[in-house]
Symmetry: C2
Subunit: 242 residues, 2 copies
């Protein structure tokens, strides 16, 4: 069965976490964002009155009759089917917790440039964004990435992955999170990665995976840009205070 991924065209956004799993597994999927009138098809799907279980927002995945929204739920579903999870219930729960925490960082990375809400332009909330971004850089990035470093250091299996001895969907998502933070806050994130060797190494491991490597070099990988969740405004970045 061909999966259909619905997400807004032109940005990586939350859809990218799903794309990385589909690409890494070599799954058969259609990325609706890359189809003609992708955004219109997405909106028409959300508006369908015959859908008993309408997703709240993109991304959502269609697998036959099943429609799944919420990034972390999609990844748990795909991870089980595409060999990027674990058979153990305890491992799967732990993976899901890690993924939900990655989702929390993603939300805060967005709010760093849009603290007053997504209904206003960045230009209408620049002083507020400067205050929120400073706290994000100085308090939240260290706290979150410090936790991921700790999770990696406590995994009793070798290999440098978050859970068990092989890559899972959460490893792919942590790679994407670090990529996004490096795009948006390069100074702060480089400073932090120098102190988080396991997170930095995992980023290298994932980017070297054969299908991920090919995907990142392909035209299917939308570049980071100023419409996505991770946005680079130089005035919101800064070195960590030493």
């Amino acid at each position: 069965m061909t999966y259909e991924l619905y997400y807004w065209s032109g940005i990586q956004g939350r859809g990218e976490f799903v794309r990385l799993v589909l690409e890494d597994a070599g799954a058969d999927y259609v990325d609706i964002a890359l189809q003609p009138n992708g955004d219109e098809r997405l909106m028409a799907f959300l508006d369908r009155e015959d859908l008993l279980r309408p997703p709240f927002a993109p991304p959502f995945l269609r697998d036959g009759d099943l429609v799944i929204g919420q990034t972390a739920a999609i990844l748990a579903y795909l991870g089980d089917r595409l060999g990027l999870s674990s058979k153990s219930e305890a491992d799967r729960l732990w993976l899901h917790q890690i993924q939900l925490t990655i989702g929390d960082v993603v939300g805060e990375a967005h709010d760093a440039h849009h603290p007053l809400g997504a209904h206003l332009y960045y230009e209408d909330q620049k002083p507020e964004a400067a205050r929120r971004a400073k706290a994000f850089r100085q308090e939240r990035i260290p706290k979150f990435l410090g936790w991921f470093e700790r999770v990696l250091s406590r995994n009793p299996h070798g290999g440098g992955y978050l859970v068990g001895s092989g890559a899972t969907y959460a490893d792919l998502s942590l790679f994407q999170l670090v990529e996004g933070l490096l795009y948006a806050f390069p100074k702060a994130t480089k400073d932090f990665l120098a102190e988080a060797p396991r997170v930095a190494a995992l980023r290298e491991t994932i980017s070297a995976r054969q299908r991920i490597h090919a995907y990142l070099a392909s035209g299917r990988r939308i570049p980071f840009n100023q419409q996505g969740i991770f946005r680079h405004y130089a005035e919101l970045d800064g070195r960590r205070p030493s």
Copy 2:
């Protein structure tokens, strides 16, 4: 096996979504927040260096050797064990999506009074909170609660529940969300509930459940207050524009 729930004392917060499930099921549990030195025990647990899988933040649930963080993950776990979920994988996925969306509203309800971050007092971000709260009231509450109303209206089973024909953990959480919104934004929420009869009815159904009714009247239910996620600042509330 006795469950242990770890959460900050003195507030409902995200821990309350877990409490409602444990209470409704009549589960055997210890609420660490109600024990002597509950907050210290919580912090000591998070600091344990021998924990291979340390939760990022409270709430977290301990079930023997298993420690589960992230509210939605805890609820999915407990729902399966306490008869507040479904045996069907499709139903369970749908329930989890609904729960994750409830979690998104909870996060936005917090940011309505703390748009610049939790590191500052409300008093240090009042004008910014006024702007964000207005958008939350006028755009986000209607969008989110409108979706829950739609989910209820499209459930083909009778009974007025979100999924299937009986109460699940998501129904308990939607009840708690509405209670919180009514505390924090009474004018805006009452206006909206007048247009969302199924959401309003579900709130009544859940509050009348025998164990929930007893719990809400008990000393175990911490009252809403100005330290929690849902806070009432009169200046952040307002009628919906007609």
